[in-house]
């Protein structure tokens, strides 16, 4: 009976800890005045989440053929693309890919040489100023951790549940929404008196709605190779944006899969260990009125 009371107290403490953490959210960002962002069904969500290799390869293709002409990924090395938990390219493929790029190397003849897997992804512009000049004054952000630098603001009480579901896909959801949020003309849903500056584009989800990036994707822009089993994937903005958002999540968190796998084992161990510790504690205290 005393044991049961102890157990109740323990549960109460756990609940109190969780509640305290839960009640004190500080999440607030991106889509300040934008439309609510729809959550996508990501393969890497949840405690058993893993990246879909095919999706990452497609996302990489979109990144390389479209995004990479303006956006850098300075923390990503070519070798990362063949590392476990990623897009699953072979080392030969990565070697061949790296060799297609020229990288700066002061020790090489002429200051440039073909890339090797250890090189970082080459930046499209030499510096920020050059990037701004080429993009109408806007600076295309680096992609390395961008998927974690964006998020979704959930109203109460949704964010309380996020602590228990471990919702960490706000960045990917935001990127997907942004890429699908363009309008050719300023829509009626725009804030009253909204005037679009020249060289800007209207986007439902971008803070302030006026984004410097022209709609980067269009249906059929990137040609996906059919899989070995002949399965094809639609070549639509919706599909491209989902794939590239997944790839960006991988860039920001390349070890996500092994982290979650380790975590599952750790939690399982801790729960079993706590059970054994509790049984020991109970036995030890059995003869003591307390």
């Amino acid at each position: 009976m005393i044991g049961a009371i102890d157990m109740f107290k323990t549960k109460f403490i756990i609940a109190a800890v969780a509640a305290m953490v839960g009640l004190t959210s500080v999440s607030a960002q991106a889509a300040e005045a934008g439309a609510p962002i729809e959550r996508q069904n990501w393969s890497f969500a949840g405690i058993f989440g893993t990246y879909d290799e095919n999706q990452l390869q497609r996302g990489f293709q979109v990144f390389r053929e479209v995004c990479a002409s303006c956006h850098g990924a300075s923390l990503i090395a070519f070798r990362n693309l063949s590392e476990p938990g990623g897009p699953g390219f072979s080392e030969e493929q990565v070697k061949a890919l790296a060799a297609e790029y020229e990288v700066e190397d002061p020790t090489a003849e002429g200051g440039r040489r073909p890339g090797i897997p250890a090189d970082r992804w080459p930046s499209p512009f030499a510096n920020d100023q050059e990037a701004r000049d080429a993009n109408g004054g806007s600076l295309p952000p680096d992609f390395s951790v961008l998927a974690k630098a964006r998020g979704v603001t959930d109203p109460f009480p949704t964010w309380v549940f996020n602590y228990f579901t471990g919702y960490q896909e706000g960045g990917a959801d935001y990127i997907h929404a942004l890429l699908n949020g363009y309008h050719d003309e300023v829509p009626e849903t725009a804030p009253e008196g909204f005037e679009l500056a020249e060289g800007k584009y209207y986007n439902d989800y971008f803070p302030g709605h006026a984004i410097g990036m022209a709609p980067p994707l269009s249906d059929g822009l990137v040609t996906y190779e059919p899989g070995e089993d002949g399965v094809t994937v639609p070549e639509t903005v919706e599909q491209y944006s989902t794939d590239v958002a997944a790839f960006m999540m991988w860039m920001a968190e390349p070890h996500l899969v092994s982290r979650k796998q380790t975590g599952f084992v750790v939690l399982l161990f801790l729960v079993l260990f706590a059970g054994l510790m509790y049984a020991t504690k109970r036995k030890l205290w059995a003869g003591i009125e307390h």
Partner: protein, 416 residues
């Protein structure tokens, strides 16, 4: 405390050591035989949990410092380097970052336990005051640690908070420049904060030593607040409380591990994944959650009082909120320690606890509309609790009859 010692040196080497440096005797007295009230509940395990938290932060922090570069051009990428390329780095970094939040969860629970059970009352005033100093130093350490990843929230958080110093009349601006190492947050700030962030945990550890020393003079308070009267009121610290504390630590590790492995970024802010940029201000500058109650009090004073402008007023209020804790043992003069036997105190205590959660919540909200009104109300209650409620209750409240001893209370519970 030698009266508790049952230590007899087992052989001539132990005897030789015991005559010169009695560390084994000390450990036996204080870590094993120490008589501890047998009726402590699980709220009492947070002291041990906090020792564990401090240990985790120091060990992970020392390893992180081996790979971290305190330079404005390289700090942000060096943290990513730890996450991406250092063996085990992503887990060590996540444990350290999540560990800061877990530290404060445990710290607040530990403090609220002391507030409910009157653990600050004579003869334990110094334990409590040392605890408040530990809390203040931990806040400072955590705040400086948050600057180190050099993200947008790091930079702007430091900018906003360091402005507090400039509110001090006459010398404020000079103090602020001394703290920052310049006119604004920059490379000198990052370097000195890194240095102090490495130093302070060891200062905290030393004060924790004093905190436990002071605890071992009168011994633990307990849930009924009646002092230990005879040896059957107590059990030896080891194995009874070592086992219970270890169990509680393992349970505490479960939510800890949940965040580390499944939601390592949920307690942080996405903006901190954008490198610090003095030219771009984030839409909302929000400190880490554990600073929010005091941040709310700082912001609540948005009006001038005579010659004190709102800025200085806010700083005085925030400092005052901590001073309340320091002088608490002399504000609550009720002889009864435990809230369990104080029918009126209980209500005001729980209101205070809810009020504190509300202060935390309000700190994350924009300072506009209804939020500013609520912030003022909650700030007012924070001070009223200490300055009015506790002194008045001490005089007018009729406590429930106390059990004569711990043993009697325990037997009563068992037979009920």
């Amino acid at each position: 405390m030698s009266e508790h010692s049952t230590y007899t040196p087992g052989n001539s080497v132990e005897k030789w050591l015991d005559d010169r440096l009695p560390v084994v005797r000390f450990a036996k007295e204080h870590l094993m035989d120490f008589p501890t009230p047998k009726n402590l509940n699980y709220w009492w395990t947070f002291g041990a949990i906090l020792v564990m938290c401090l240990g985790i932060q120091i060990v992970t922090g020392i390893i992180l410092a081996m790979h971290y570069t305190p330079n404005v051009a390289m700090a942000f990428d060096s943290v990513e380097h730890i996450r991406r390329d250092v063996n085990g780095g992503r887990i060590i970094q996540a444990v350290h970052a999540v560990g800061a939040s877990m530290f404060f969860v445990a710290l607040y629970i530990h403090m609220f336990r002391g507030l409910y059970y009157g653990s600050y009352k004579a003869p334990r005033e110094i334990i409590w005051i040392l605890g408040v100093l530990i809390f203040i130093l931990t806040v400072a350490t955590a705040f400086m640690g948050y600057i180190l990843p050099w993200g947008q929230m790091s930079f702007w958080g430091a900018t906003v908070i360091s402005n507090i110093f400039s509110a001090i009349p006459v010398v404020g601006e000079n103090i602020k420049q001394l703290v920052l190492g310049g006119f604004a947050v920059g490379n000198p700030t990052l370097n000195r904060f890194f240095s102090l962030h490495y130093l302070l945990p060891f200062v905290i550890a030393a004060i924790v030593g004093l905190h436990i020393w002071a605890l071992h003079v009168p011994g633990n308070n307990n849930p009924i607040g009646v002092e230990v009267k005879e040896s059957r009121d107590t059990v030896a610290f080891h194995p009874y409380y070592t086992m219970k504390d270890l169990f509680a630590m393992v349970v505490f590790m479960i939510p800890f591990a949940w965040f580390v492995f499944f939601a390592p970024d949920i307690l942080g802010h996405p903006d901190n994944y954008i490198m610090a940029n003095s030219q771009v201000t984030p839409a909302h500058i929000v400190p880490e959650w554990y600073l929010l109650p005091f941040y709310t009090i700082l912001r609540a004073i948005d009006f001038n009082v005579l010659f004190i402008d709102s800025k200085l007023g806010g700083v005085i209020a925030m400092g005052g909120a901590l001073v309340m804790l320091l002088i608490l043992p002399w504000l609550d003069t009720s002889k009864v320690r435990s809230g369990t036997f104080r029918p009126m105190f209980k209500w005001f205590y729980w209101l205070f606890a809810i009020n504190f959660v509300a202060l935390t919540y309000l700190g994350a909200q924009p300072a506009e509309g209804i939020y500013t009104v609520l912030a003022k109300v909650c700030t007012a209650y924070y001070f009223i609790y200490f300055l009015v409620v506790l002194p008045v209750l001490s005089r007018i409240e009729t406590p429930k009859p106390l059990p004569t001893s711990i043993s009697e209370s325990v037997l009563g519970k068992a037979h009920a």
